[in-house]
């Protein structure tokens, strides 16, 4: 039963107020993209045993989407942050590095 702090309204929301939205920082590929690009965009999800970046919505709350950095093995939460960014902010990366030196996720580290 996870608790995530919604970065928009500041509520420490328990899972039943939230809706999980899968992998974060996807780059959309539309018309003109290659079959591989489109396929990977829709179906090739990160599925790490460890550090993961994901999307959540404070559905039973302020209704905003946000991002969370979480460990899928311990459920430790490194931080939550705005959904309006294309990659995790530095303080989040630092927080992860402090706990999981040498971590990588897609092109981020």
């Amino acid at each position: 039963m996870l608790i995530l702090k919604c970065p928009y309204c500041g509520v420490d929301a328990e899972e039943t107020e939230l809706a999980a939205g899968g992998e974060a920082h996807l780059k959309r590929f539309g018309p003109g993209s290659s079959d591989d690009e489109f396929h990977d965009y829709l179906f090739m999800r990160e599925n790490p045993k460890g550090v993961h970046f994901e999307r959540w919505r404070h559905a039973n709350g302020c209704g905003k989407w946000f991002h969370a950095a979480r460990c899928t093995q311990t459920l430790e939460v490194f931080g939550t942050y705005s959904a309006q960014v294309t990659e995790p902010p530095q303080e989040i990366r630092d927080a992860i590095t402090a706990k999981r030196p040498g971590w990588t996720w897609r092109e981020f580290e």
């Binding site: 608790i3 079959d35 829709l42 939460v77 706990k99």
Partner: protein, 1010 residues
């Protein structure tokens, strides 16, 4: 025999006598009794039968770890199977029945199994019942199933008479366990100012200490408990809860508390159970320890009891299970039982200490009382069927050659103590093996981790392996302070009280008694009393290669009984390690899973039953529908009238009447459930062009356009009419139940992909009650309302043409009128404020009388749209259908570079010309095609399945055309007009249907354009 003592009984009130029945027999007990203590007071030694061999079973423990004394409690709509007598507080009128026997407890046919035991070892069923094959289903399994289960199932027709509820609670520190350790931990934590919750599963506080004796700060433990309890009650940052068990610890500091509010006085109007959903920053588990049985032959005979339990019955309830008791042990604690029995005037005929050197101070004390203590000795065998009669004694270090046989009627056994580590382990806390104390205890260096990656559970007292009274109190005090500190409250220095108890000599591990017991003894030495798992079963599992503790558990069913192995796991584990020649910690334990102790399904479900099981969303006209024959169908969380059935009518008749009447006169549809989303902003047009497959940005103000929505994966997800309200505002209609989904869909794209676009969306679905006024008389009834009011909007074809909308007044009602049609008739959809919806509905019905008005339901709606060949999301689409399949290329804008789904449509399979496409279907004999029927192709596929070339997506009887009509998806369908296909039904018949145009009625659309 087992009787009530003249003295003792700190928990009972002898002045209050309570009547109850066991198997119909009237018995009495006292206030404060548990059912178990009351049964023992009535010399009811045998209380049930075991699972596999139907062996006689008696009370063996005094708490929730009890595996034997399970009864069916109460009756009728309050009956509950498998209730533990040891945790059931006695109440007046309590009626209990013993379980798992036929015809009765005393004489049980099933007991024959005990004589066959030799041929029914662990897992015998995996090796047998294999041939002949049909016998498993028809002979073997029915036989096995008949012997399955313990308690009776509750009555199939009765609904639970009780109610349940949930309660959210937040605290800094939660302490589980109200023994002296828990009380001290709570006190230490609370001293720092932290908000503390302390829960105790029993009705009384203090745990074992008042029974086990010693002193705390010079006081009797009982007195200290009272004093500390009073101190805690006086603190407003402390919440105390008895009869509340810590049931489970979950991730991120979530914990469940299981409060049994009125099990001790059923039917008093209160909820029966309350499930506490607790969010704690830190959790202290002061859950105590559980004594282990010893494995000797006949250790399952009624009258053989845990030494600590026997002590509890004497001291707490003034009951002795026997008059001549043998105490057998491998540690000092059991001597306390000998003393308690002796002090209560019960004869202790022998104390057998398996340790060659025996025990310490407590042993001396026992000897001084003149009780005979023998060291290095063991029980070879307990004799007796339904109760203990004789005990044969041998050397512990031997094969079990009996050296003496003494008569006794009860045996108190102690194999040492295991800390209760369940809650610590639920969320991943690890254990270490303590060689000195011979048990697993929490490994403080590997706690369960919380959201911050730090440990959030602290074990305290004997639950942490701090077994002595003084040691336990000190440990608990430290744990309490540490928990508060971890929760952010600088620790105040709380001095731990001084606990003083007799010094004890170390325990010596005794996993089998006697050490080299031969097979005839081992196959009578029980590990799991309820499931009948014996020493030889575990040895067999090891021999056969079921080496992992999980394999052994599952192969023998050890620890899978209702006590989840609280008594049997460690003994079984040790026996497995011994058989494998491995060290106990190397064999490891099974995983501890919630709940600690079974909790009622009712409590888990909480209040959500009956009318609050799930929300039923209601339109402003819902009450009218209910009162006017509506036959409802669930659509999402809504319930919409399927049809309005009149007396003497079948649902089918009603639907046909509604279709006919709407086509010929006037029909009203409650369309309030259709989603309505306002989309506004400078980029709204651009945004809607991405959301819809067709163009919305070029829609003229005042006009409407039907739109399709696809997922990014290309599949149709919704459709509806979009209206342009003003320069930068659109109103999008969604399907019923689609409002929240599509609103979320839009917000998701706006917030996570195009967050720089200037667009706001608001869901105004419920702001409006919307009524579809349909049929040749539609305009007449609306104009009549205007006439009555003396004014109102112009509803003429010129002023409000098809696919346009206007704001204004109709009669007394402010409204927005849409000239749209899903039926092919002259049709207006009128939206009024929801608060006026019912009044508007009533006004239409009143004014409509002269025009033959009738409300109609969803089935009529479906039939009329099918007659017109309109698709329905959920019928023609199922999540695998793309617009091209429905010949709706016209709705796929060519002008737009991009929209959700466009890229997906260019994938090879979606561009495949062989995809099934929408056509109309008409049976050759006018009958109705079966729903979901498939069209048969030629031959079979590589897996031998008959090839299919199409399927029916919707099919109805058309009252308008008096024949069956249908739509379906067919391979190359549009190119095969006139062809007749075969649709095999599940009724054995084959239906023949011709491929036709999907528009069955008013092809040129004359009726709606008037």
């Amino acid at each position: 025999m087992s009787t009530r003592l003249a003295s003792q009984g700190r928990l009972i009130d002898r002045s209050k006598t309570i009547e109850f029945t066991f198997n119909g027999k009237r018995m009495t007990g006292h206030a404060g009794d548990t059912l178990a203590s009351a049964l023992l007071a009535n010399d009811q030694m045998m209380v049930g039968r075991s699972f596999k061999y139907h062996r006689p079973r008696g009370v063996v423990a005094s708490g929730s770890e009890e595996p034997n004394a399970l009864v069916g409690l109460n009756s009728g709509d309050r009956f509950e199977p498998n209730q533990r007598a040891t945790t059931t507080e006695l109440f007046s009128g309590l009626a209990a029945q013993s379980q798992n026997h036929w015809p009765n407890l005393e004489f049980d046919i099933g007991a024959v199994n005990t004589y066959l035991a030799r041929w029914l070892p662990a897992g015998f069923y995996y090796k047998t019942f294999i041939h002949p094959k049909p016998f498993w289903k028809h002979v073997y399994e029915p036989f096995i199933r008949q012997s399955a289960g313990l308690g009776k199932a509750p009555d199939k027709e009765l609904k639970d008479a009780d109610t349940y509820e949930h309660f959210y609670f937040f605290c800094d520190v939660m302490v589980v366990g109200g023994g002296v350790a828990g009380l001290q931990a709570a006190k230490a934590a609370a001293a720092s100012g932290a908000k503390v919750l302390l829960i105790e599963q029993n009705a009384h506080w203090g745990g074992r200490a008042p029974v086990d004796g010693g002193t705390i700060d010079g006081m009797e433990p009982g007195a200290w408990v009272e004093k500390t309890l009073a101190e805690l009650q006086a603190m407003d940052n402390v919440t105390l809860r008895s009869r509340t068990m810590g049931s489970g610890v979950y991730d991120h500091g979530y914990a469940l508390g299981y409060e049994r509010i009125n099990d001790h006085e059923p039917g008093n109007g209160a909820p029966r159970h309350r499930l506490w959903r607790i969010r704690a920053k830190q959790i202290v588990t002061a859950t105590g320890a559980i004594e282990r049985p010893l494995s000797f032959a006949g250790n399952d005979v009624p009258g053989v009891m845990l030494a600590s339990a026997m002590r509890d019955y004497v001291v707490n309830w003034g009951v002795t299970p026997g008059q001549k008791v043998v105490v057998v042990t491998n540690n000092d604690d059991a001597y306390r039982t000998a003393l308690a029995l002796h002090d209560a005037g019960v004869e202790v005929v022998r104390v057998l200490d398996a340790r060659s050197a025996g025990g310490g101070a407590l042993m001396e004390e026992v000897r001084q009382k003149g009780i005979r203590v023998e060291c290095g000795r063991a029980i070879a065998k307990v004799k007796g069927g339904k109760r203990v009669q004789k005990v044969s004694i041998c050397a512990q270090n031997g094969v079990g050659g009996a050296q003496e046989e003494i008569s006794a009627d009860a045996v108190a056994m102690s194999g040492g103590w295991s800390p209760v580590v369940h809650l610590w382990s639920h969320c991943g806390g690890k254990l270490i093996w303590d060689d000195a104390q011979v048990h697993f205890r929490p490994d403080a260096s590997r706690p369960p981790l919380g959201a911050d990656g730090k440990g959030f559970v602290l074990p305290a007292g004997s639950a942490n392996g701090a077994m002595g009274l003084g040691e336990g109190l000190a440990d608990a005090s430290a744990a309490g302070s540490a928990a508060a500190e971890a929760a952010g409250f600088p620790a105040k220095n709380v001095a731990a009280p001084e606990g003083v108890a007799s010094d004890e000599l170390p325990i010596e591990p005794v996993w089998l008694m006697p050490a080299q017991a031969d097979v005839t003894l081992r196959m009578k030495s029980w590990l799991d009393y309820q499931n009948d798992v014996k020493v030889t079963d575990v040895q067999l599992a090891a021999r056969e290669g079921y080496e992992s503790v999980e394999h052994t558990k599952r192969y023998t069913t050890l620890g899978m009984a209702t006590d989840q192995g609280k008594l049997s796991n460690i003994n079984g584990l040790a026996m497995l390690a011994d058989s494998l020649g491995a060290a106990i910690p190397d064999v490891g334990t099974t995983t501890f899973r919630p709940p600690y102790h079974p909790i009622s399904m009712g409590a888990i479900g909480g209040e959500a039953r009956g009318k609050v099981f799930q929300p039923i969303r209601q339109t402003p006209m819902h009450a009218w529908h209910e009162r006017n024959g509506a036959d409802f169908e669930p659509v999402g969380q809504w319930r919409r009238p399927y049809a309005f059935v009149r007396s003497g009518e079948s649902v089918h008749d009603a639907v046909n009447r509604e279709v006919k009447n709407t086509r010929e006169n006037l029909g009203l549809l409650d369309a309030s459930t259709l989603g309505k989303l306002v989309v506004k902003g400078p980029d709204a047009g651009k945004f809607l062009d991405m959301m819809y497959t067709n163009m919305m940005s070029n829609l003229k103000v005042g006009k409407c356009r039907y739109g399709l929505m696809c997922s990014e994966n290309g599949f149709l997800i919704d459709d509806g009419v979009v209206a342009r309200i003003d320069e930068d505002t659109w109103l999008c209609h969604t399907t019923t139940g689609g409002a929240e989904r599509i609103h979320g869909h839009m917000e998701e794209w706006l917030q996570t992909e195009w967050w720089d676009w200037k667009v706001y969306v608001a869901n105004v679905t419920e702001q409006f009650a919307q009524v579809a006024v349909v049929g040749p008389n539609a305009r007449k009834v609306l104009e009549k309302l205007n006439a009555q009011a003396g004014s109102g909007m112009d509803l003429s074809a010129e002023a409000l043409p098809f696919m346009e909308w206007r704001d204004g007044k109709i009669g007394d009602f402010d409204c927005r009128a849409y000239r749209i049609s899903f039926s092919g008739e002259l049709s207006y959809e009128i939206a009024v404020p929801a608060s006026e919806g019912r009044a508007f509905w009533d006004a239409l019905l009143e004014a409509g009388k002269e025009f033959g008005v009738m409300p109609y339901g969803t089935e009529c709606l479906h039939i009329m749209r099918a007659e017109k060949g309109f698709i329905m999301i959920g019928d023609e689409t199922d999540g695998t259908v793309i617009p091209q399949d429905l010949n709706m290329q016209w709705a796929l804008s060519k002008k737009k570079e991009d929209f959700l789904g466009k890229r997906a449509h260019s994938r090879s399979h979606m561009a495949d010309p062989d995809r099934w496409k929408l056509v109309g279907l008409e049976t050759v004999d006018g009958s109705v095609l079966p729903d979901g029927a498939y069209a048969l192709g030629e031959g079979v596929n590589a897996n031998g399945q008959k090839n299919m070339i199409g399927r029916v997506t919707s099919t109805y009887y058309s009252a308008t055309l008096d024949k069956g009509i249908a739509m379906g998806l067919v391979k190359h369908g549009p190119d095969r007009m006139g062809e007749v296909l075969e649709f095999p039904g599940t009724d054995g018949k084959t239906y023949k249907a011709k491929i036709v145009d999907q528009v069955f009625y008013d092809k040129e659309g004359a009726k709606q354009n008037v």
